[in-house]
Amino acid sequence: MTLSLDRRLFLGLAGAAALMPMRGRAATPFAFQASWINDAEFAGYFLAADNGYYTAEGLDLTYLSGGPDVIPESTLITGRADLTLTTPDTTIKAITEQGAPFKIIGAQYQKNPLGIVSLAKAPINEPKDLIGKTLAVPPVNVISVEAMLAANGITRNQLTIVPYAYDPTPLIRGEIDASVDFTTNVPYTIKLAGEEATSFLLYDHGYTVFNDTVVVTEDVLASRRGELVAFLRASRKGWEENLVDPAKYPPTWADTWFAGTGREIDNEVFFNTAQKPLIEAEGGIFAMSEDAIAANIEALAKVGIAATRDHFDTTLLEEI
């Protein structure tokens, strides 16, 4: 009932019939929960859906948008989605501490785009610069930041950590000294507001973990393996095509995928361009090399998250 309401809304208001899940003959329903609102972070999936790559693989895709308050893993547990994108630290913490039945079957970002963003006129260039400063951190990323601080020999009480609500205004106004955000995105906004931003990745300072890890429940992994491989294959195809020219596709989604987000298309092009080196992988998009997995396990161990090789399943990637 709720789904039909949403669809009517799409039709009546956005006039975006193209957004309707593609209905192939005998296509299998497959629900994908994104980890954020519709922006360039999901360009590969938008392209794959628009070009019918999922339909060609026999999937009837339902795309669920995320947002700051959507915890993607929760939709897997309630069975609302078959597959989602997560931050590996929270996912593995949920596995080890609460026995959540998750498996990581791929990684969109080989390098986590999360970074410390500050203004160029008062730059924070490395972790040590944070000492004595005020850093705004989204509550979900507090563990990631603690990991990075620990890797650099900084204790938490050497700086002030306040909540970050994804609003760069406090940074621009100088109320905080730095924030933790996607370096692929927020520098554009800051520039638009008339300031210059500088940033460094947590990844480059000891927090060597993936982001937007592709996560499923063990149940789905066992019962829908074929569809999962099909999803990965179609999505990889969408991503590869999108990254050939990051400026090409975002403008075509202005009235469909990006309708009503209140963000400029230029911003999405900036994002899409900036994320290219973080996504591309030697083993193909979503790859998880043994070295990278080992680096993840090592980094997470520093904050007491006992990740093991078992939490990552690379066998589906081999089947693409």
């Binding site: 948008s65 309630t78 609003d167 106004r173 963000r263």
Partner: protein, 509 residues
């Protein structure tokens, strides 16, 4: 009035243009209007989505409320049994249950539920009041002609309740809009003013945040105006605008054991409802916690208890201070309004905006002005508790009998003396009514501020637990905040009964 509004706008424009507040984070009205015009293509779909959630919730919530009101008016036992549930619904801080709703349900459902919850209490109490205050002589007429309870209900009582119910619908309409928006923050839908606001937070564009906030205010205001108009047409009579804060008592002298059984039932019923809903939802046990599962969770060696106590130690004192300040300010202004009625009119627009402007939009601005210390929590708490308390107390002061005021005046007393001797003592029931209204709102304000600004206390614990998928903690904080609200409510009621009994007064709605 028009001149005053223009003056206020001009002042705001000046403040915005010169970037006087928070380094320009308070945009000028013209900047907001320009931004709004640029964004005009975005608004229809978001406004429509919010109206859908609010509208469906409004219908369901009020339907249930009227049915429940009739039941409680007819059956005092049912009223007594449901007292616990009613207080819990009245007191539950939406911020605490929104995350649970968005975990357990999907799509429009969380919006509809929060909107419906926002409507229920006001309309239910109005229905009960309307029915019980029906003209006894008209009831007698029905009875004399052999009409039964149902005939009396249909022909007299429900009709006499119509003005009361319409009055409640005026208040329920904006409440439904706010409920829907609140659920949109966490609901993950693409459309709705709340979703738009969240999506726009990252834009560093205060003019848009204000535009969205004002659009929400207008939507809530239109809801109020529509039902105010209908009420005026239908009844042509005035009804108090105060928000009821008392569930139907439904008492008659009963043997002690019966009273004890009803009281116990009333306490247990909310827990039974909680348990039943979880069983009915069929949600997995990892996410949906029953009361027993929470007890188990707290027994785990995960320091949950310690973290909760730490958070409480941060949240409770500041909540108490916030209530005291909010009520003190409201009381002072209510007294001032007796001496100078113009004050009320001047303050109303500001107060209305602080009521309907989503806190998520207002908080970043307040952070820029007041920083991230305890003062920002206090400001937010005062801003959410002040308005309803002020309206309630100002009305109480205005309802003091003319003849009582005339006595000291005739003896040449100054306005201050009249206030001290008559108005202030007479307003006692309204102070308590305001206090009952303020408690759950204060907790809502403190938790929102902690969540968004300071990163301390219960609000932060709730937010962080969501990030860590710590479902046991999410439920614990939600349940705890409801229990706290109910507990304080009961404490206020207890004190109120004793004080008013000494003063020879009765409880105000």
């Amino acid at each position: 009035m028009a001149i005053r509004a223009i003056l206020a706008l001009a002042l705001w424009e000046l403040v915005g243009r010169l970037a006087l507040v928070a380094g320009g984070a308070l945009p000028a009205p013209s900047a907001i209007a320009i931004r709004f015009w640029a964004d005009r293509g975005d608004y229809p779909m978001h406004v429509w989505a919010t109206m859908q959630g609010a509208g469906i919730g409004f219908l369901i919530g009020n339907l249930v409320a009227v049915l429940a009101g009739v039941l409680f008016a007819v059956s005092p036992v049912a009223a007594r049994l449901a007292r616990g549930v009613n207080i819990a619904i009245f007191a539950l801080p939406a911020i605490a249950i929104a995350p649970i709703l968005t975990l357990m349900t999907t799509g429009m459902t969380p919006r509809v539920i929060l909107a419906a919850l926002g409507c229920y209490f006001v309309t239910m109490t109005a229905t009960v009041t309307g029915i019980t205050q029906a003209d006894a002589r008209m009831r007698d007429v029905i009875r004399a002609y052999g009409g039964g309870r149902l005939a009396s209900l249909r022909l007299v009582e429900l009709r006499s309740a119509v003005p009361q119910i319409l009055g409640a619908l005026r208040i329920a309409a904006p409440a439904a809009v706010l409920g829907s928006i609140l659920a949109e923050f966490g609901g993950g839908g693409r459309f709705g003013l709340g979703a738009y606001l969240i999506g726009s937070l990252g834009r560093a564009d205060p003019a848009r945040l204000w535009g969205i906030g004002l659009a929400a205010t207008v939507l809530a205001g239109v809801g109020y105006a529509v039902f105010a108009m209908i009420a005026a047409r239908v009844t042509a009579s005035t009804v108090a605008v105060t928000v009821a804060a008392t569930p139907p008592a439904g008492d008659a002298p009963r043997p002690l054991w019966q009273r004890a059984a009803l009281a116990a039932g009333s306490v247990l019923l909310p827990f039974a409802v909680w348990w039943g809903l979880i069983a009915a939802s069929g949600a997995p046990a990892m996410i949906a916690k029953t009361p027993m599962a929470l007890v188990d969770y707290l027994m785990l060696p995960n320091k949950a208890g310690e973290r909760i106590l730490d958070a409480l130690a941060q949240t409770l004192p500041i909540t108490a201070v916030g209530i005291a300040l909010g009520l003190g300010f409201a009381f002072a202004l209510a007294l001032g309004s007796v001496l100078r009625p113009g004050i009320v009119r001047a303050f109303m627009p500001v107060a209305l905006v602080t009521q309907t402007m989503p806190l998520v939009a207002l908080t970043p601005l307040l952070v820029l002005i007041f920083g991230r210390g305890p003062s920002v929590i206090l400001w937010i708490t005062v801003s959410v508790t002040f308005f309803p308390a002020f309206v309630t107390m100002a009305q109480g002061l205005q309802m003091v009998a003319r003849s009582a005021l005339d006595v000291p005046r005739a003896y040449g007393a100054s306005p201050w003396t009249v206030l001290r001797l008559v108005s202030i003592p007479a307003s006692a029931p309204y102070v308590f009514a305001a206090l009952r209204l303020a408690v759950p709102r204060a907790l809502l304000g403190v938790m929102t501020a902690e969540w968004l600004a300071t990163g301390t206390g219960l609000g932060n614990l709730l937010n962080q637990s969501r990030g860590y998928l710590d479902y046991g903690m999410i439920w614990t904080v939600a349940v705890l905040s409801v229990l706290l609200s109910v507990f304080f409510y009961q404490v206020v009621v207890w004190i109120e009964r004793r004080v008013l009994a000494r003063l020879g007064m009765t409880t105000a709605a």
